[in-house]
Every structure is written in structure tokens, then in C-alpha cells.
């Protein structure tokens, strides 16, 4: 077992992990971050995409099935569950996916949204071709991609208009609260059993 410390969606977690644990399994099974999914065994589909800080501290998209949890030691991670703003207001990319009907079964969506956020953080005004190329690491078996491209284009425009970047906000006090494992679900009136709990 190796001790690691990872900050996920604004919360720091210290855990002992086996070196062979994949980051995606650590996120899902140890930290309860089940919003991040696994879609393949070959590092191709991108469903598991999260943002992780690089050695310079910049948050960049990575495939969490192709990173060992021990490699994330000391890093910061944003998952789909940490994207919403204070009070669970949708991130511009999340809103655009909703409004543009950019999903059908929804399995690729968490990774697709994180990859789009990653792309827009580097290129806030991409052409359609740049969007397609920027998302080439993510596969969708339902939508045919058209609405995904439209959604990313819309999100880019919305973020530019609002003068905000499409990058995730640094965690605020409320965001930290919203980023706990149940942060993605409405807090009022939600039955306990509907709230995913971290595995102890």
C-alpha cells in the first residue's frame, strides 16, 4: 500500500492505495465519485476523462483509466461532479449539452463534457473542425456527434459573452460544499438511499 493525497473537486483525500489501482477506480470506489465512468479496456473511449493538474499546476484533461492513483499523488482533480458552480448552477458546457440535446444514453457525457472543458480552456473560440479534433479522444455511440459539436460551440459563445472562462471555478466555500460526494444531487428532500456514499 502507498499513501497518497489527492484533492478532488476541492476536497483533499488521504488514502492508502495499492499501486495497481487505476485513478478511475480510486475515484469511484474509494471516494464515491461515481459520475466518472469506465467505457473501455483500451484507453480509447474517453468516458473516464477528468481534469488533473500537470507538474506546472495547470488543469488538463486525462483519461483516468490510464493513470495510476499513485501517479495522482499531490495533484488536483476536477471530475464532472465538481463542475457545477455554487448552488449547483450548471457549468456553461453542462447547460449547453442539456439545451442542445447533446446526449442520448448519456454514458459518454461526463467524459465528453470534461474533454470539452479542457479544449475550451486552451481554445475559447474553436471552429467546428477544431472541436471535432479536440474531442477525438472521446467516442459516442449514440448522437452522431452533431449536437455535441453544437453544444460545445454554444458553450464557448456563452462563456465568451459572460466574460468568464469555461474553466472550472476555483473552489469557493459553497463549491467545496457542493463538491462533496453527494454534491451532484439536490440536497433537499432527497432520500438518503439515493445519495451515493463513499466506500469506507
Amino acid at each position: 500500500m502507498t499513501r497518497i493525497s489527492v484533492t478532488v473537486d476541492g476536497v483533499r483525500y488521504d488514502d492508502d492505495v495499492e499501486p495497481r489501482t487505476l485513478l478511475v477506480h480510486h475515484l469511484r470506489e474509494q471516494l464515491g465519485k461515481v459520475g466518472t465512468v469506465v467505457g473501455c479496456d483500451t484507453s480509447n473511449c474517453g468516458a473516464c476523462t477528468v481534469l488533473m493538474s500537470d507538474p506546472d499546476g495547470r488543469l488538463v484533461g486525462v483519461k483516468s483509466c490510464s493513470v495510476l492513483a499513485v501517479q495522482a499523488d499531490g495533484r488536483e482533480i476536477t471530475t464532472i461532479e465538481g463542475l457545477a458552480g455554487p448552488g449547483n448552477t450548471l457549468h456553461p458546457v453542462q447547460r449547453a449539452f442539456h439545451e442542445r440535446h447533446a446526449l442520448q444514453c448519456g454514458f459518454c457525457t461526463p467524459g465528453m463534457i470534461m474533454a470539452a472543458v479542457d479544449l475550451l480552456s486552451e481554445n475559447p473560440d474553436p471552429t467546428d473542425d477544431e472541436i471535432r479534433e479536440g474531442l477525438e479522444g472521446n467516442l459516442c455511440r449514440c448522437t452522431g456527434y452533431q449536437n455535441i459539436v453544437r453544444a460545445v460551440r454554444d458553450a464557448a459563445a456563452a462563456a465568451r459573452e459572460a466574460g468568464t472562462s469555461a474553466e472550472p471555478e476555483p473552489p469557493t466555500v459553497e463549491a467545496v460544499d457542493a463538491a462533496t460526494p453527494d454534491g451532484g444531487l439536490p440536497s433537499e428532500g432527497t432520500p438518503d438511499e439515493a445519495v451515493p456514499q463513499p466506500v469506507p
Binding site: T42, S43, V67, V70
Partner: protein, 287 residues
């Protein structure tokens, strides 16, 4: 699938890394973008993974006289964004932009791509075309191996067990040189069915020097020597280039697989070589 168990070491100096590699089934971990998929499929089962992420000295690009030196742990994304690479080795930047996808480029490293030596990998041919020297550290000290001798066979390099690739040294190619990587693949994030790395130096309207190396035309990158000699001293017109490119597959031993037969690969080598050289010369190819 979940990888088989292994121990994990994160040294902070090259010496510590070499010491940690003493076990014969130890393996270097760089970006993990080739190794982790292999571990997941249980096609590799090392006893110890020696993670080079703590070796800051192996990351980054610097200029050293007439050479550019790129640390083995420099990620594809950092290579792409680096101003020195874009100025003195634009061929490397351009080819790196065709590798995999954004997520893989954020983690995968130049050193890992070369050490992995996949015949379909794009960067080995670029290293050969640019006459790179691979700098290696091991228990016996340090040595440099020319790219032409580094790639030995399918997934096999001149690296001995226990050795670490530390950096890649490239002669700067500024003034007069122009370059192009042409890659043929059928799907998004697809590997090259064939790739061509071309560099030409022009002088007085003619071609003074040419270097051409091919991806996936054998178990290791091959120089298209006949193309190079046909171009050297020739004029830079489309007819000459077409005739020279006709020699591209000479001496190569491509294999056939699900993506392409050996004959089709040879055809692609000729077509892509013509395109790469014309593009390097700033002429669009006739479709």
C-alpha cells in the same frame, strides 16, 4: 481489467532510478499511455514500476549550442507548445500534433514514445529523419546512441535492462530547412498505417540535402535512402519530386495486417513521400 500487483518506486534522481531498476523484471513508467493499457490487458507484468515523474531534470526543452535537448519526460503537449521546438524542430511539433488525442498527449512523453518503439508510432521516424541522438543513463554510466541505431526491432530498442533514456538531442534545423510529416490513418485517434517524415534544405532554388524516414514500413523506422539521393542536388520541381518519391518503398520490408497489405503500404509510402516533400517545399500536391 485491473493490472496484476507490482511494487512502485518514485525516485528523485537518475541514479536512484537506475538503482531501482536493478530487479530484472522492473520497468520504467513514464506517462503510462502505452504501458498502463498493456498492464490492464495483463500483457505486461513487471515486478516493480519505477516512475520517472519525480525527475524534474528530465522535463523540458533547452538549447545547447547547435543542438536542441529535450528531456525524455517532456509530454507530447509540452513539446507541441514549446517555442524552441517550433522554431528549430517544427517537424517534431507537427508530428506530435498527430499523436493520439489531447488526453493522451497530456500524459504521454517523447521519451516513452521512443523507448516503446511501436512500428506504428509517429515519433521514431521523426527522430531518425532529424538525426537525433538518444542520451541514456545506466549502471555503467552514460552514453549516446544515434536514432538510426536505437530502434532495433518491433518494440525493441538499444536500451539495456536497467537503462533510462534521459534526453533526446537534435541538431537545430533553422534557416533553409523545411519539413513535413504526412500520416495516413483511417479513424480519429488512429495509428499511422504509413507515415512519412521529410526534411529538405534548399539552396539557390534546388534541393541541397534531403532526409526522409518512414513510419510503419517495417518493424522499425526506415530511411528512404534512394529518395534522399535522388533529391540531393536536384531541382525542386514537382516532376523531380514525383520521380524521387517512386523509390520510397525500396529496401523497406512492410508487413501486411488488418489495416493494409504490404503492397498497399508500399503504395502509400510513395504517395505520402511525394506529398510530404512537395508540402515541405511549399507546393501543394496535385490531387
Amino acid at each position: 481489467m485491473i493490472p496484476a500487483p507490482f511494487d512502485y518506486a518514485r525516485p528523485s534522481t537518475v541514479e536512484e532510478a537506475v538503482a531501482a531498476l536493478a530487479d530484472e523484471d522492473a520497468k520504467v513508467l513514464a506517462g503510462g499511455q502505452s504501458l498502463i493499457p498493456l498492464l490492464r490487458l495483463r500483457l505486461a507484468a513487471p515486478t516493480v514500476l519505477v516512475d520517472l515523474a519525480g525527475l524534474d531534470a528530465l522535463r523540458g526543452v533547452h538549447s545547447d549550442g547547435d543542438d536542441l535537448v529535450i528531456g525524455a519526460m517532456t509530454t507530447h503537449a509540452s513539446v507541441l507548445a514549446d517555442p524552441l521546438v517550433n522554431r528549430y524542430a517544427p517537424l517534431l511539433a507537427q508530428a506530435t500534433g498527430t499523436v493520439a488525442d489531447r488526453q493522451v498527449r497530456h500524459r504521454g512523453t517523447l521519451g516513452g514514445s521512443l523507448a516503446h518503439a511501436d512500428p506504428a508510432g509517429d515519433l521514431p521516424a521523426v527522430a531518425v529523419a532529424l538525426d537525433a541522438t538518444l542520451e541514456i543513463a545506466g549502471a555503467g554510466g552514460r552514453r549516446g546512441v544515434p536514432a538510426a541505431d536505437f530502434f532495433v526491432d518491433y518494440l525493441t530498442t538499444a536500451l539495456e535492462p536497467g537503462e533510462v533514456l534521459t534526453s533526446i538531442r537534435l541538431p537545430k534545423r533553422g534557416e533553409g530547412w523545411s519539413t513535413r510529416y504526412e500520416k495516413f490513418n483511417r479513424t480519429a485517434q488512429g495509428w499511422a498505417i504509413v507515415g512519412v517524415a521529410a526534411a529538405v534544405r534548399r539552396e539557390n532554388g534546388g534541393i541541397a540535402e534531403a532526409r526522409v524516414a518512414l513510419t510503419n514500413m517495417g518493424t522499425r523506422p526506415v530511411r528512404a535512402a534512394a529518395v534522399e539521393s535522388a533529391l540531393t542536388g536536384a531541382s525542386a520541381d514537382a516532376e523531380t519530386v514525383r520521380a524521387a518519391a517512386g523509390h520510397a518503398a525500396e529496401g523497406a520490408e512492410p508487413t501486411g495486417d488488418l489495416s493494409a497489405s504490404a503492397e498497399y503500404r508500399s503504395h502509400l509510402a510513395r504517395v505520402l513521400t511525394e506529398r510530404a516533400i512537395l508540402a515541405a517545399l511549399g507546393q501543394a500536391h496535385a490531387a
